[in-house]
């Protein structure tokens, strides 16, 4: 009981401790707010520019979720295809690794040439960063099916798509939902990076203009907001994961 309470409070203690330490360092070392603003200064900046920050944050959130949704759709589909067929997996492997190795910030200028400055390059960048872990996880889930499970179905005369739908897809779901948590945070990175390079709105754009005006507390306020959005979205998908694939995490349930 006491351990459960400790487990629940630890994340809060650590997070609050982090900000307290940050504040202490700024005060004790008398760091200029131009170099590193203290959490209180960041908070002050947030309260004075609340409307500005939140409207840009909303823009970033929409961009990120749009790119993420595309990534989920494509990642799931592509992951199923290459997971179901080792041949296709082999065929696409070099291209996949190649694409993932390209820093996504490097494709933003190309996207600007194609689509102009605005939301679309940010959505595509978010999509490009979010897709890879989903593809890999879904493919792994499919490719690691126990052969005995396949035998159970094959002796009944099951066709390949039946094995896929009855065993492959359900089996890949824990991998899929686990990847969503990672993918949503990566999507934030993608969209904010794109916004800093080529956008008229969004948290990334706000940060660039603020740093242009040497308003460092506002830059930090925007950074913290991105971090908070990431934590919230991660938690949302962690809850969805637990709901959808409770059977895969049963060991902890049984022990608890």
């Amino acid at each position: 009981m006491r351990q459960a309470l400790l487990k629940r409070s630890l994340p809060w203690v650590c997070t609050i401790g982090f900000f307290v330490l940050w504040q202490l360092i700024c005060v004790v070392l008398k760091i200029d707010s131009f170099i590193l603003p203290s959490p209180l200064e960041v908070w002050n900046s947030f309260t004075t520019h609340t409307a500005l920050i939140l409207s840009n944050a909303l823009q970033t959130l929409i961009t990120t979720v749009a790119g993420f949704a595309l990534g989920v759709g494509f990642g799931l589909l592509f992951g199923l295809v290459i997971g179901a067929s080792p041949t296709i997996y082999e065929a696409f492997y070099p291209i996949m690794i190649g694409f993932n190795s390209i820093p996504k910030v490097a494709i933003v200028p190309v996207l600007v040439i194609w689509f102009g400055i605005g939301t679309i390059p940010a959505i595509i960048t978010a999509f490009a960063t979010a897709t890879f872990p989903i593809v890999v996880n879904v493919a792994t889930g499919l490719a690691t099916i126990e052969p005995e499970w396949q035998d159970v179905l094959r002796v009944l005369g099951a066709r390949k798509w039946q094995i896929l739908s009855k065993i492959g897809i359900p089996r890949a779901m824990p991998y899929f939902f686990a990847s969503l948590k990672v993918a949503i945070t990566l999507a934030f990175i993608g969209s904010v990076v794109a916004e800093t390079v080529a956008a008229n709105s969004g948290i990334g754009y706000l940060m660039m203009t603020a740093s242009g005006r040497f308003d460092v507390p506002l830059v930090f306020a925007a950074l913290v907001v991105v971090g908070v959005m990431g934590v919230v979205m991660y938690e949302v998908f962690a809850v969805i994961e637990r709901r959808m694939t409770f059977w895969a995490v049963r060991s902890q349930e049984v022990v608890a």
Binding site: E148, L153, L156, G157, I167, A248, R250
Partner: protein, 265 residues
């Protein structure tokens, strides 16, 4: 008793190997005939190709040479009349016990077409079957909420729900404790007496083989050869006490000797 029945499985000089013609020979020149409704047990030392025999008969793995007929037709791919159970229950963890049992009905052609329409009827049948193996009240439990013995019972139900003509059991009780195992012998015997499928049971356990089977085949150490065929004439339904009678012990001694002798040579 099994004199005028037709044979459902026929192997003539079948050799099977893994990894192509130069691979490991799992089964060498096996010949056997199994009659419709017969309960056959296959025993032998581990790694002798017992499980390979099941892969062969079910059509999951092709023979290297020789001919293999099931129900009068040569086997060219996975059969559709089989039910199969393994040493591990292999239940799907995302399905409840009853949904696991229903799985074959979603797959097998003759059932799958009318599956939606007959859903309630099928659920009733599955729940009745679970009740016969002592699992009533556990229909909605997930496999990981069941003990190993219960999982294996559910696995047996899954192998039987579509009333297969051929039931292939690959050491289904091997991972269970002796009491649960003997309990399930009774369950299996009762199910067999009621439905009379043809059963091929692969096992290490001589008592299990003699208790359950009409005919016990002994396979030698790798490469596996069929070295003996023994009819078990004990009266059915057999009782657990029968396993302690002199006749039973005599049978198990003679089978034990066949396995041991060949291995030493």
């Amino acid at each position: 008793m099994a004199s005028v029945k037709e044979s459902i499985i026929e192997l003539r000089n079948v050799t099977m190997s893994y990894g192509g013609p130069d691979g490991v020979v799992a089964l060498a020149e096996a010949s056997l005939q199994i009659q419709k409704g017969e309960f056959v047990a296959v025993v032998g030392p581990s790694g002798c190709g017992k499980s390979s025999l099941l892969k062969l008969i079910s059509g999951l793995h092709p023979p290297q040479s020789g001919s293999l007929y099931v129900a009068g037709a040569p086997v060219s791919g996975p059969l559709k009349i089989c039910g199969m159970a393994f040493q591990n229950a292999m239940l799907l963890p995302w399905r409840t016990a009853i949904d696991n049992v229903l799985l074959p009905l979603e797959i097998v052609d003759s059932h799958a077409s009318g599956y939606r329409r007959k859903r309630t009827e099928y659920r009733k049948a599955a729940s009745d079957l679970l009740a016969t193996v002592g699992l009533s009240g556990f229909e909605e439990k997930y496999p990981w909420q069941l003990s190993g013995g219960m999982q294996q019972r559910a696995s047996l139900c899954r192998a039987l729900i579509h009333a297969p003509e051929l039931l292939l059991l690959d050491e289904p009780f091997g991972a269970l404790d002796p009491f649960t195992r003997e309990d399930l012998w009774d369950v299996l015997q009762a199910l067999w007496l009621e439905r009379r499928p043809t059963v091929i049971l692969v096992t290490h356990d001589l008592r299990e083989a003699i208790f359950l089977a009409d005919t016990v085949y002994v396979i030698s150490h790798r490469p596996g050869r069929v070295i003996s065929k023994t009819h078990i004439e004990l009266q059915r339904p057999r009782q657990l006490e029968d396993t302690y009678t002199p006749a039973f012990i005599e049978l198990s001694h003679s089978l034990r000797e066949q396995i041991g002798l060949r291995k030493r040579r």
